[in-house]
Symmetry: C2
């Protein structure tokens, strides 16, 4: 059976019943159909005293992903089977990969959040609200210039890009405003995918509606002809943009196939954005459950680093354990085995590629939080391969649990859950990676050395000039959000395993003052993905009675 | 009090209670919060035997509109006061005017549909689903070309444009795919506002999910190098696009301030699209209520003509009465009074401008349906002005009812409702304006002569060439959807009143094979509006506890 067939085969509980499980009444939620809801804010209810947080991350993945969401879902169901009060907190999927290559982001097999189709398609409209708010701001900027440009915005230096939640390479670089004076002022522009937009980051980092609006007002949309930053506040449209996000800011409640409550909210990619679900979602889960299990995107070098260095300071709660998901497939890929051959046993490739897992274990251990490995099993994996990984981890003093959630759901992660119930109680002392008041370049060097295992950072001429201006504007000590390929610890997607002595190339910076960080663009990373030769859209269909097929 | 203050001041009924009123159980609807719902399809329940349909249209409006929605809402409440089972069926607002100039589209004063903020903002996400489906198709087209162009699409002849539900003139004419071979194939493109998109028309004309997908597959997205049409079916993505509209196709249920059930679904503009809410919404209302009151956009030359010539053949139900809304202000504007002076009495301007009302009465009467005039009263209107209009209408054998729904809600339209209860029972014979199998040019000439009161049609060289190709493709007998300014019966927005002997200039055609009609672009009409000097967005705000202000 395919994922969508498994999902369609399970009878969901009504969402009011799921809400009840975590102490929420019908009045605490806004239903979106019978199986989805938004949780009203501010949340008053605090049932939980335990407030244990488990962060699920992974090694550098294959193009199909490591199954972090799947493990997170299965783990949640395992906690439920053990009669523990757990909530999982996931990011919401982007339609770009759903229609493109990677597919949805609701887990897989018997470890899924449902309704799978709705969550992967429009869900409760958060992405669309963000897209609309983003492009409304863009239209207001161009209109300001067209109507006389009282603020003196230099149209060559507008940094606010348009956005769509679609993989569309043709919109990366465009020229707008053509056709004569009535159609606006011609200028270069481009679309990012919505999940990479600053508004997505703001939504995910805001503590409440007040903070949301304040952050929106701080957004720098571009510069004047004399190079002063222009903000949303200067344009006087922060209220309208915040209004467009009034519902998007509320966390979404759904369930797993085994009826474990799941909060699915916010969805920045981890390669081109900060890769974590919303602070409000995680806080809500922490307040309502004893165990909150959440994930951060792609490998630990991306999502987890950003969770720990960008999200944790706002959340004011460190993880109690970090779970690193590893697949035999990905380790073999990191060990040099060809993508097409990953299904066949290859201990040599595994022995070489396990360096990637070892690297991530060491890098995560630096934060002072217990680390556990979850081997996300595929049917083709052999016992020899699994036990080899467990042996290597044991030598490092780290438990590596064989999990089989795709085929068995929560039953496949019972041992992992039992282990975590112990590790989250261990005494721990969170050690931030870098001092918050250190220079931007110092922060980047620290991430490159301590998290990527690299040696140097090389700044382009453009990046160097930007750094000078940031100093002038007082932006030189902000947190950094690295934009980097997910396939390698370096900025070269072909450099697999655990490379050393490499240089990270910072091509440019994108200041995101509303989000509160500076994005460093490395290598050839793109903020708008493209579609593959055979996009997933070609296989998606709907029957006359509304049954969807081909989503994965 | 402002509209939004009045709306926020009223205690709404829960949407399940509104549904109950029209015979729908909790299982027949999908709640979107407590006060909005989608009605599940297919609808089995048929309570109504009366099935009377009242179409509300207007004279050529002022830039603020004539208050058709307001009269429709007030009329619905008047029927409720008279203990008649009525449903109003409106179009859903576009964010373009909400953030731009005209404001929302939920009525005004004490004749509004609520929750006003939600309906005017994201509502149940229909617009966003359409935008996403539209742009996913666009991305798939450009990707098809980038990946080898197996269909041989001529990138200079792609007619499928991108869309956003925003007023953004800078996106009217753009160049995409810049930046080298990796970023796609450069070509000219442009964005339309979503309400003008073919998918919006398809959504509004589809009878069910099967019809929706069939229509999507018939969309012509462009032409090959040897000038053959390329359809969505050729691209093999009709299933994915229909899947993205699986929820948008379901009619939305809300309520008026007086708790009259309101179905608000589909929202094409009437100047650049066909201007009517969805066939499914109107059918649903007809099946559930004795009286369905619906509106069509802008003046009777636009929305009503398209309702009667494009929607009625699909709906298979003619209106039982047509209500023409007229304001003293608009008649004075049509009579030459300056826009800034419309608040002051001016019988001379009124006497001249009433020609516009007289023209619309005559043009609507041609369809063989009873016509009634509703004078939508403003506080500044004088008794002399009102009674003059009533006298002129009486001389034409038409009743003109003084309505005051903005200030009085349903109470302000009781007399109008009582009149309509009689007129809908009158024997009638619907006379189509043109033979469905007549030539496109013949249809256009008929509309220009009989509806606009013009003399000739002039085709540009481009339009003439297009007509030749349409003949070759067998598209020359399709219905026509006129794109024309709403301010004048002619294609010149400055030619007010009831001009005669004018020429309509058809600049080009846009074939919409999925919608099933050909759009004729006249005058200088634009399918993407711009923002004004002071966009409404500047005045919109939200408080820390979520209260919205400045929406109108």
């Amino acid at each position: 059976m395919t994922d969508i067939e498994i999902a369609q085969d399970v009878k969901m509980d009504k969402i009011v019943k799921i809400a009840e499980k975590i102490g929420l009444t019908e009045d605490d939620i806004e239903q979106y159909g019978s199986y989805k809801a938004k949780i009203k804010l501010p949340l008053q209810i605090k049932n939980s005293t335990k407030r244990k947080l488990i962060l699920v991350t992974s090694i550098n993945p294959t193009p199909a992903g490591e199954g972090k969401s799947t493990v997170t879902v299965g783990l949640g169901d395992a906690f439920t089977l053990l009669q523990k009060k757990a909530i999982i907190a996931l990011r919401e999927p982007s339609l770009g990969p759903v229609m493109g290559m990677k597919g949805g982001a609701t887990g897989g097999g018997y470890a899924q959040v449902v309704p799978m189709e709705d969550i992967n398609l429009h869900f409760t409209g958060d992405m669309h609200a963000l897209t609309t708010a983003n492009n409304t701001l863009a239209a207001l900027i161009d209109n300001h210039i067209q109507q006389g440009n009282a603020l003196g915005i230099d149209q060559r230096r507008i940094v606010w890009k348009r956005a769509l939640d679609i993989n569309d390479r043709a919109l990366r670089k465009i020229v707008i405003g053509l056709g004569g004076p009535v159609q606006g002022v011609p200028r270069e522009d481009g679309f990012d995918i919505t999940v990479a937009s600053e508004l997505m980051a703001i939504l995910c980092l805001s503590e409440n509606l007040h903070d949301l609006k304040a952050r929106i007002n701080r957004i720098v949309i571009g510069y004047t002809h004399d190079r002063r930053p222009v903000t949303v506040k200067d344009l006087n449209v922060g209220g309208a943009i915040a209004t467009l996000l009034k519902d998007a800011i509320k966390p979404n409640l759904v369930q797993t196939l085994a009826h474990t409550p799941a909060i699915v909210h916010g969805g920045p990619f981890a390669n081109i954005a900060h890769g974590c679900n919303s602070v409000l979602a995680t806080q809500t889960a922490l307040n309502l459950a004893d165990y909150t299990i959440t994930e951060a995107g792609f490998g630990a070098d991306l999502g987890a680093e950003k969770f720990l260095d960008i999200k944790t300071p706002v959340l004011k709660k460190m993880p109690d354990t970090i779970v690193i998901v590893a697949t035999i497939k990905a380790m073999k890929l990191n060990g040099g085995q060809a993508l097409a051959d990953l299904a066949s046993e290859n201990l040599n490739a595994l022995k070489k590629g396990i360096a990637n897992l070892k690297h991530h274990i060491r890098s995560m251990a630096q934060y002072g939080v217990p680390v556990v490995v979850a081997i996300n099993r595929f049917t083709q994996d052999t016992e020899q391969e699994i036990s080899y990984v467990q042996k290597v981890c044991a030598e490092m003093g780290v438990q590596a649990l064989d999990t089989d959630v795709w085929a068995k759901g929560g039953q496949g992660a019972l041992e992992l859950a039992q282990t975590l119930i112990k590790t989250v109680e261990q005494p721990k002392k969170f050690k931030p990676l870098y001092a918050s008041n250190s220079e931007l370049t110092e922060k980047i060097q620290t991430i490159v050395t301590k998290i990527y295992g690299g040696a140097n950072v090389e700044y382009s001429k453009k990046a160097t000039n930007q750094l000078k201006r940031f100093k002038k504007f007082g932006w030189d000590k902000l947190p950094v959000c690295m934009a980097k390929t997910q396939y390698s610890l370096s900025d070269d997607p072909k450099l697999l395993g655990a490379p050393t002595d490499f240089t990270i190339h910072v091509k440019s910076f994108v200041p995101k003052l509303g989000a509160g960080f500076i994005v460093a663009m490395t290598g050839n990373i793109l903020t708008m993905p493209g579609l593959p030769k055979h996009p997933a859209a070609l296989d998606i269909d709907i029957s006359d009675d509304g049954k969807i097929s081909g989503l994965f």
